[in-house]
Symmetry: C2
Subunit: 82 residues, 2 copies
DNA sequence: TTAAAATAACATATATATGTGTTTATAATG
DNA sequence: CATTATAAACACATATATATGTTATTTTAA
């Protein structure tokens, strides 16, 4: 598969999303593995979202937000303007 | 493909998401076709989201929220508790 | 330098996004 | 009521991408 980034025109947005998720995770002192375990998703998937390799789905976002004990919309709080 | 629903354990959540999207769309007096045109996504896709046939992605949600002139988080406002 | 964490590089099943055409439902109108 | 138009649902098919898995390499921290 080689190094990849999401192809979407929303690449920058998805990068910001990943960066924000990483911050939320680190603020909680969680490793990718910790969060993956808590959210019950594969370890690698967290890294892939962090690095904007995927344009993830509602259910994955929901699993992550639950694991972080935040509302799903908090995952988008990096984006203060519409 | 026959009648389908998302298989995710978040099926109910995704149904609520779709129902909420339908309300937002109708509040703006938009047909599925109108919204699809504004968001530059296929006509059918709006209906599929409405009916919870898909577990949609960030980029699709973003396209829709832009077309509705709302913030992406508003698509989750049906869900007041975490 | 050792261990832990994260990145990368493969591969694959399943699902999203898309497209086209048909059928059904809803609304408007003569 | 019948008819027409519009909107939405349904049924099929397919390219691409997400989610997943495994292993190896690199980075970071202890």
């Amino acid at each position: 598969m080689e190094f990849r980034q999401v192809k979407s025109k929303d690449q920058k947005y998805i990068q910001a999303f990943g960066k924000h998720l990483r911050k939320l995770r680190k603020d909680n002192d969680l490793s990718q593995e910790d969060l993956a375990n808590d959210a019950d998703i594969p370890i690698n998937q967290i890294g892939r979202i962090d690095r904007a390799e995927v344009n993830t789905t509602i259910s994955t976002m929901r699993a992550i937000s639950k694991a972080l004990n935040i509302h799903i919309t908090d995952l988008f709080n990096f984006d203060k303007k519409s």
